[in-house]
């Protein structure tokens, strides 16, 4: 420990109710097991409703029919969403076939949803199928421990199949970090897998009341910032020399969540603490987590994330504490550059001679759509594929490690099932949305369901201004929690109410600047007319290959966010 006094740096006051329920949960057990046997409701009562998140599930309901069911004297159509733990998003074909089958047989929506946490989600699982779900996954070597709740969640890793050796090493670290930071309680196995009951007496890293708030970790391999490091609490930027990984730059305290109308909340970029050698990785990871565990705000959950802790205690104080706990000194950051965030669609050949096909999956939703049987196509590919699949943080999918002789058959299957379409525009490939309606309980406005037609409108605008090949990173998120990472987009829409969004502009192409509010609470048609005008100006006045997000800042349409803790809530444009 450093010579700081932890207590002096803690926020005093009445603890948030979530602290009580974590403390009383007997290491995440609560009364989940008892409530699974309650046949009268498909839902969970208040504490267990929260606790199942630590086991990777959210209670949701079909919001489209909530009012209808109330009239029918039926409770909301409660289901759970499960988010799997797949560090780095790698899944084997055999596992894919298993999740495909479960989604088909036992989920209301019959889909596999790839998400921005580089994993898959099942949506619409009834309570009576929850144990079966975990047991099915467990049999395939997959779990969902700590993919939600106040813990370190699924660890992301850049999907970079070209430099496969560095990727392989980085992926190993993502897996190790994930495992190192997992809860040690046996609750998951006891409740879901009929595991033996064991007494849990401590959580050495997470602590008996776990973390103050959710915690997100990535391993990023420059120049690709597909994981969006600034959306995460803890980031390990891979530094390689001669094709070998030698260590990481550590970035701490990023995060995008905020609360409408609460200026004490804001998105924040991660702070660069410096370089560490590989062998310090797990100790540093644990030190950042335990420092946040002890210093994070447990009184006000809206200010509980690592980014607020850094702002409150000072990044240097936080860093010194991490150094003290990990017994290391951060070296100066090694140089690196992020140039891209998007996935590299189509075929690429890795340095090991294997081939990789990246598929664009709109909204990450793998389902048999009319004329686009994506799910069937993926199943057929999984039946013959010899490599693995890699889900990307952009909700897309890489068919990785294809030997040359299988390229044709896999490409043909992909084309036949609408998984590969040469007509998909760059704009569509640069657009992303969270799930939102009808299942997400937090959604204030549509996201996934409005995105396809919204993108079509933007495509129309680009074509109208003579630049159909151009793209603008466009992201829609249904609420300010920000799963859709709109707070790092060039055009960001944050749901405000049904059909209404806050429009943010001025993020960069590589995800290193937070956008600023341009217009509040406007309809998508108002948004489109603003975009129409600004895109027209951009294409007329741009400086060379200048990106849209840079143009709106340079031209004074929007003032750049420089230090979001101080200037994010300042109003819009620079006076002309």
């Amino acid at each position: 420990m450093s010579d700081i006094n932890i207590e002096d740096l803690q926020v005093q006051g009445k603890l948030a109710d979530n602290e009580r329920l974590k403390r009383e949960s007997n290491f995440l057990r609560g009364t989940i097991a008892e409530e699974l046997n309650d046949q009268i409701t498909g839902g969970f009562s208040a504490d267990n409703f929260q606790l199942i998140r630590f086991h990777g599930m959210y209670q949701q309901d079909d919001r489209d029919i909530r009012a209808e069911r109330a009239k029918q004297k039926l409770e909301p159509l409660h289901t759970v969403m499960l988010r799997a733990r797949l560090p780095g998003g790698i899944i084997q074909p055999k596992q894919w076939l298993g999740i495909d089958q479960f989604a088909e047989d036992k989920t209301i929506y019959g889909s596999i949803r790839l998400t921005t946490r580089q994993t898959f989600q099942f949506h619409g699982v009834l309570k009576r199928n929850m144990k079966l779900m975990h047991q099915t996954l467990n049999d395939m070597g997959i779990d969902s421990i700590a993919t939600a709740g106040d813990v370190n969640r699924n660890v992301l890793c850049t999907s970079n199949p070209i430099e496969s050796e560095v990727h392989a090493e980085a992926y190993q670290w993502a897996t190790k970090i994930s495992k190192h930071l997992l809860p040690k309680t046996n609750a998951y196995a006891e409740i879901w897998l009929n595991g033996e009951k064991a007494v849990t007496t401590e959580e050495p890293i997470l602590g008996s009341t776990y973390l103050p708030r959710k915690f997100k970790t990535t391993v990023a391999i420059p120049p690709l910032n597909d994981v969006d490091v600034h959306a995460n609490d803890l980031n390990f930027i891979a530094i390689a020399e001669g094709g070998k990984l030698i260590g990481f730059n550590v970035l701490v305290g990023g995060g995008l969540a905020m609360t409408h109308g609460d200026t004490a909340t804001y998105p924040r970029k991660a702070t660069d603490f410096g370089f560490i050698p590989l062998e310090a990785t797990l100790d540093v990871a644990a030190a950042v987590v335990t420092t946040q565990r002890d210093l994070g705000n447990r009184v006000n959950r809206k200010n509980a994330k690592t980014k607020y802790t850094l702002e409150r205690v000072g990044a240097d104080v936080f860093k010194a504490e991490v150094e003290s706990r990990a017994s290391i000194k951060f070296e100066d950051s090694r140089p690196y550059e992020f140039t891209e965030r998007g996935d590299r669609f189509g075929w690429v050949e890795g340095i090991d001679g294997k081939h990789h096909l990246t598929l664009f999956i709109e909204n990450g939703r793998i389902l048999d759509f009319p004329n686009k049987p994506l799910k069937t196509g993926m199943r057929k590919i999984a039946e013959i594929h010899q490599g693995d699949f890699r889900m990307t943080a952009n909700q897309n999918l890489v068919i990785a490690g294809v030997p040359a002789e299988q390229k044709d058959v896999i490409e043909q299957l992909a084309r036949e099932h609408g998984l590969l379409d040469d007509d998909t525009s760059n704009q569509r490939k640069s657009s992303m949305a969270c799930v939102a309606f009808p299942t997400c309980p937090l959604a204030m406005a549509e996201a996934e369901r409005m995105l396809p037609s919204f993108v079509t409108d933007i495509e129309g605008i680009l074509a109208k201004h003579g630049a159909p090949e151009e793209s603008i990173i466009t992201r829609v998120t249904g609420c300010p929690n920000g799963c859709g990472r709109a707070m790092l987009a060039e055009i960001g829409l944050v749901g405000k109410g049904p059909g209404k969004y806050n429009l943010y502009l001025g993020g960069t192409h590589n995800g290193e600047r937070i956008p600023r509010l341009h217009k509040e609470n406007i309809s998508d048609s108002e948004i489109l007319s603003i975009i129409d005008e600004l895109v027209g100006r951009w294409l007329q006045e741009r400086d060379g290959a200048e990106r849209f997000g840079d143009f709106v800042v340079r031209s004074g349409i929007i003032a750049p966010v420089v230090d979001s803790a101080k200037d994010f809530h300042d109003v819009g444009a620079i006076p002309a």
Binding site: Q39, I40, I65, K73, L74, L77
Partner: protein, 592 residues
């Protein structure tokens, strides 16, 4: 309205007492009291004095009326007979077969039997024991006894009036002699019943040597009946028609609320509501056009078209219609069908009257048509509300009958009327059908076990409302089942709230199609057998409501299994245990 001493015949003190008594009463309570006082004034008995019972006449000179009743129709007929007999000076006693000791039968000289049939030719619950006794070895010789049987049934079922036929046959075989030939009544039984009663009373009068003095009905303590009844239904209005199964349900079940305000109609949990429905006008018009009859023709003071809408049965078909049309027209195919009972039954199984006419579009005169058609019978629905909760409303849980057959969509008569054709605010003619065989225990401490899958849930919603109003907590156990948890959990949020508040002690549910193997309430009953048996031993009352053909039998078997397994009883003893429960009115069924 203001009471004052000048306009009333009461003393000031009486007036003040009356005003005090009325002050805290609800309109419903006042209505009850008014009925009570009206009855009191008619019988001329003042409170505090019990009505004087007539001296019992000699048994030999007495008519014994036994009824076996499931829904109360046979009971009603038996009581009508008793009234007419009393009025004619024929001494008569009336008993439910369930309350009548079979071994008394050998002493009877003059016997009238009123028995309904339900399901597939089965006797009603309260007739089971006597029915079994008569066909068994212990049946006595009945030489010298005279009897008459009235059977109630529904000719759309294969074993029409079977129970009545059984009694007739057995009594005859045991040596008794019929004094008025058996009458088998269909659902529109009023005229046939009246005729039978008149004959029985007349014959009985001549057969009994000692005439008793007529006795006035002494029913002072009962609440006054509303002026509305089956013959004179109340024209109520539909308040709410709400589907209560989910959008993906394979069932369409409606929660119906009907306004009784101002009718004075009163009911208790367990009662049924009789609904006089209207046939689908489109169906009537098609029928008229197919038989080439003029809808404007006058029939009993209204147009034929209106009569077909209001007075005739068009949705349930019955062999009599085919026979009558065959006779009237001489159509060969129909005549052949009418001659073969088996074929006929198969043919009408899923055909409504309109289907028959579509198959055989024959020209019929108005007289031929109305002669062939059966009079409409009102449909009875178990009431799903308690007036303690809903005051002057009545709620029903209606399963909508809707199916495709012979290339057309079909709807049930009453359920189609209530769910599709009647608009909210529209008129519906209703009456209360009391059912004293389905009543909450008098003692609030007595535990209750409610078994009501599907629309059988209805009376238990009424029970819960009543117990909540009465402040009774717990000691109640509900078994419910339906195809799917997410779609078919009728009144789910209400059950959740009763469980939470403690009005309902526990609930077990069975979702038949939520897993590979079918699971029904009877499986839950057996699973929970140990505790259920304890409840029975503690004196619990068991109520079963819903489907008669399968569910009620399976539940009965399950209860028997529970009693065998957990009471360590033989099959026979377990049967006896259930019989005893039934006789003690602790096992009550409302099945259809």
């Amino acid at each position: 309205m203001q009471l004052n001493g000048l306009t009333s015949p009461l003393t000031d003190q009486q007036l003040s007492l009356l005003q005090q008594a009325l002050a805290g009463m609800s309109p419903l309570q006042i209505s009850w009291v008014s009925g009570y006082l009206a009855a009191l004034s008619q019988t001329g008995v003042s409170t505090g004095e019990a009505p004087v019972a007539a001296a019992p006449a000699a048994d030999s000179a007495k008519l014994t009326i036994l009824y076996g009743s499931q829904t109360g129709n046979a009971e009603g007929v038996a009581k009508q007979l008793k009234e007419k007999a009393d009025a004619a000076g024929v001494a008569a006693d009336v008993f439910s077969m369930g309350d009548y000791k079979p071994n008394k039968l050998k002493n009877e000289k003059l016997l009238a039997i009123v028995a309904s049939t339900h399901g597939e030719g089965e006797p009603p619950d309260d007739a089971e024991e006597l029915h079994g006794f008569l066909v068994g070895k212990k049946a006595p010789k009945l030489d010298g006894a005279r009897y008459s049987v009235l059977g109630l049934g529904d000719s759309s079922y294969e074993f029409f009036c079977q129970t009545g036929k059984d009694f007739d046959e057995r009594l005859g075989k045991l040596g008794a002699e019929s004094f008025v030939p058996r009458v088998d009544c269909d659902v529109d039984y009023d005229d046939a019943v009246a005729e039978w009663i008149d004959k029985v009373v007349a014959e009985a009068k001549s057969l009994t040597s000692v005439a008793a003095t007529p006795v006035a009905a002494a029913t002072a303590a009962a609440p006054a009946a509303s002026q509305f009844n089956k013959k004179n239904p109340y024209n109520a209005s539909l308040l709410t028609n709400q589907k209560i199964t989910g959008r993906d349900s394979i069932k369409d079940i409606r929660h119906i609320e009907i306004d009784l305000e101002g009718s004075g109609l009163q009911y208790q949990p367990g009662d049924a509501l009789g609904v006089w429905f209207q046939n689908d006008e489109a169906l009537v018009d098609e029928l008229l056009s197919l038989v080439k009859a003029d809808g404007g023709t006058d029939v009993d003071g209204k147009s034929l078209r209106q009569a077909l809408i209001e007075d005739y049965e068009l949705t349930l078909s019955y062999p009599g219609f085919i026979k009558a049309v065959a006779e009237a027209t001489g159509e060969k195919g129909l005549a052949e069908l009418a001659a073969d009972a088996g074929k006929l039954r198969d043919y009408i199984a899923d055909r409504q009257i309109i289907d028959i006419v579509r198959d055989y579009p024959l020209e019929l005169t108005v007289e031929q048509l109305t002669g062939a058609l059966r009079k409409m019978a009102p449909r009875l629905y178990s009431i799903a509300s308690s007036q303690a909760e809903v005051d002057e409303e009545v709620h029903l849980t209606v399963g909508v009958v809707r199916y495709d057959a012979h290339g057309q969509e079909h709807m049930g008569g009453a359920s189609g009327f209530l769910s599709e054709r009647l608009e909210e605010g529209g008129d519906v003619k209703v009456f209360i059908e009391h059912n004293n065989n389905f009543r909450l225990p008098e003692n609030p401490e007595t535990p209750i076990v409610m078994i009501g899958p599907g629309t059988g849930v209805a009376p238990f919603r009424a029970f819960m409302q009543q117990r909540e109003a009465d402040g009774i907590e717990g000691n109640s156990w509900m078994f419910f089942g339906n195809p799917h948890f997410t779609q078919d959990f009728l009144y789910q949020v209400e059950w959740q709230s009763y469980l939470k508040s403690g009005v309902l002690g526990r609930m077990d549910v069975a979702w038949s199609r939520d897993q590979a193997e079918k699971v029904y309430v009877q499986h839950r009953i057996v699973e929970q057998g140990a505790e259920l048996y304890q409840w029975l031993e503690k004196g619990a009352h068991v109520y079963v409501c819903g489907d008669a053909n399968h569910m009620a039998k399976d539940v009965h078997q399950a209860l028997q299994t529970v009693i065998q397994q957990h009471g360590g009883k033989s099959e026979e003893d377990a049967q006896q245990y259930l019989t005893d429960l039934r006789k003690a009115k602790r096992y009550q069924r409302d099945v259809y």
